[in-house]
Symmetry: C2
């Protein structure tokens, strides 16, 4: 039976791709084009442009601390509106489409309102609609909890919806349509010479998402890697192929460095005089985790002798700074931490590349390049395929340009990989 | 078990009662006040002020003929927004509230999108929440079809949701909060002397709703009568009791005339030369029913001899005029109807009163009063408790005032009924 079915694809359209009637119609035409090319199509839509912000504003007008369950009920309406409108547009193109809420689509989550995690996808209704020759539109960013309440998946949740559905229905690809043409070797707004990458491995994409690339949400990439879902990031405003994210074993060769990523929305917190006893660090980072602050780079200096106190320094997203300070206050009192310093003007520049594993000289070259630019490195963190340097926020742009050039990542460099499959041109 | 439970009430708030943050908070306080008075509360909310119009506009921008299923998916979001916001406001008042969609509340409908009818109310989840000491907010106007699609109930659907829930959970009363203080003996904008009626019977309310009173939707009154639900129409902006709609056997006496109602949004269609053979009228009115045009008064003159053609005249809502003309064209051709005349400037004035049954002189008095005002009666239709006269639209205001005065319905008249129960003052 399944061998006789045409291939299924998932297409995900972000908020800017459905922001007004004209864009919804354009998304509808893209969806119909894939259907007419013989594909079975499931499309996941985000809320239109400013809709979510407007709904949040309504909630703030009514309540200073909106109940999370009700916030989810409120916010989930935005994606439903997008889906219903797009279904209307597709029906006008003489194709049959139905929109489904996250709940109707079988996205089952845990009960963590506003940041729920998908625990099951019961896609029977989607399969049935596909078998009935319908195009299925699914409201992104939302699901239904095991307590039968509407939940939302948190930031970038629609990407996760799309990848989860692609895994559940065995789609050949999950296409993520956004307002950028794909994943680049650096932010093209900073580096005009930046190259669109035809292929990126999951591992690289994870490091890039974690270090500032905004094309794909980290969670969705993790989900795709775990379930082996091929992702294709592409522009909703042009037809050219974008970037395909694939398993590392699928790539023919590993470039030394794939991309330079950056972030200027970081802050650093330094705790001075942390007592050198077991459990101190755990108490600190548990408090931050409970406050939902994602800690990035952590440095702890070794105390210089027994009984001496340590110094702990770490970076977080700027927007979490206030929550982090609040969460740390009671812990600091309890541990008798001498001082908490904060620095909101922190940036980070990273180079990511799967080939780095076998080339130990990369880190040294990064430090050389930054030194040449008179850029002081405040913290360093590495993974097998990534080197991140915490620097002053106002030095980030120079650092990105210098690294991109030094590692010859630009379009002028050698095209190191061939596009695959339908992406070949 | 059930005898130990405190009484349950249903409170329904219309669109103007939840139009902005301040009004949502006011509704929240009204709901909490009933809870604190010891009631278990289910509140049904409409979409905020202009929300439904905005959603319809979005749909029209995307599609000239929006798919009804998708229209329902779209429009149902409005009430969900109201409910989520109101739940937030109630939670801030230190009470626990949850919002439920029509589907979550167990409102099961048929599959007639945009005008679905409720076929079952599975209120287990509501009962469970009430037993957990929660205030339950239900999105009005919507349900879930037997095909598991979101449906909407058509115009005034939130009233029907409220009454259906009141019936299902055995509520002692269904309170309908609007921007008017209750049901009046005539439209107070036309008749400053109009009296708020403390009590109206279902039968009278049905006739009033059908003949132009806009306080309650016809369908909800039918549902309430069938299921014996007591309705209390009252203002969301003041605390005084409004109008209670009750079974006729509950009223102590029947006033001759209860109210004068009117409508200026009527049109008349006259078919000249309708062949005098069986099935002709059926063909005409079936075509109108299929086009969803509600026909009101119908007059068919008797043909004066065998083989002579009849003349059929009827009124419909002005907004249905174009659809009716389109629906009649093929029938007229088939039946070889000589001519179709339309008149969009039609109005209707009606007097309603349960006591009319035993007073045959009422009709004659109505005609006298209108004749005194030089108002020509173009069509007449009656029921045991109603007399309606179709007149020129521009004569409606004069007719209402004259009838209201002639039947002494004003506040200056005798208070003919005592308020009952908690409504007594």
């Amino acid at each position: 039976m399944s061998t006789s079915l045409p291939p299924t694809i998932v297409m995900k359209f972000g908020g800017t791709s459905v922001a007004d009637a004209a864009r919804i119609k354009r998304a509808a035409r893209r969806i119909v084009a894939q259907r007419e090319a013989g594909k079975r199509v499931v499309a996941v839509l985000s809320a239109r442009g400013k809709t979510t912000d407007e709904l949040i504003k309504m909630a703030e007008e009514v309540s200073p601390t909106p109940d999370p369950r009700e916030m989810d009920m409120l916010l989930s309406t935005g994606e439903r509106i997008s889906c219903a409108l797009c279904a209307m547009a597709i029906n006008d193109l003489q194709h049959r489409a139905i929109s489904l809420t996250g709940s109707q689509a079988g996205i089952v989550t845990d009960t963590s309102h506003t940041k729920a995690r998908i625990i099951d996808v019961r896609a029977e209704r989607i399969r049935q609609a596909l078998n009935d020759d319908q195009i299925v539109l699914v409201a992104g960013f939302q699901g239904v909890s095991t307590s039968r309440d509407v939940t939302t998946l948190g930031r970038g949740g629609s990407d996760t919806t799309a990848v989860a559905l692609a895994a559940a229905i065995g789609a050949e690809v999950c296409e993520i349509y956004t307002d950028v043409a794909g994943v680049f070797s650096a932010d093209p707004r900073l580096v005009p010479d930046a190259r669109k990458l035809p292929l990126v491995s999951f591992e690289e994409m994870l490091e890039m998402a974690a270090s500032g690339a905004k094309v794909l949400q980290l969670r969705s990439v993790e989900y795709a890697r775990t379930h082996g879902v091929r992702i294709h990031c592409r522009s909703s405003f042009e037809d050219r192929p974008g970037t395909v994210v694939i398993g590392e074993d699928e790539t023919m060769e590993h470039p030394l460095i794939t991309a330079v990523t950056h972030s200027t929305e970081e802050a650093r917190i330094t705790l001075l005089g942390v007592p050198d006893r077991p459990g101190a660090a755990a108490a600190i980072f548990n408090a931050l985790a409970e406050a939902n602050c994602n800690v990035d780079t952590i440095i702890q200096n070794e105390p210089l002798g027994e009984g001496r106190d340590a110094e702990v320094s770490f970076t977080i997203a700027s927007e979490d700074l206030r929550a982090a300070e609040a969460a740390l206050a009671p812990v600091a009192a309890e541990l008798r931490i001498a001082r908490i310093d904060t620095d909101p003007e922190i940036g980070k520049v990273s180079i990511v590349g799967a080939g780095m594993r076998s080339h130990p000289g990369v880190a040294a070259k990064v430090f050389d390049v930054l030194a040449e630019q008179q850029i002081n490195i405040e913290m360093i963190s590495t993974s097998p395929i990534k080197i991140s340097c915490v620097i002053r926020a106002d030095m980030v742009e120079d650092a990105v340009r210098a690294l991109h050039q030094a590692f010859e990542l630009g379009a002028a460099g050698i095209e190191r990989e061939r596009p695959i499959g339908q992406e070949a041109r």
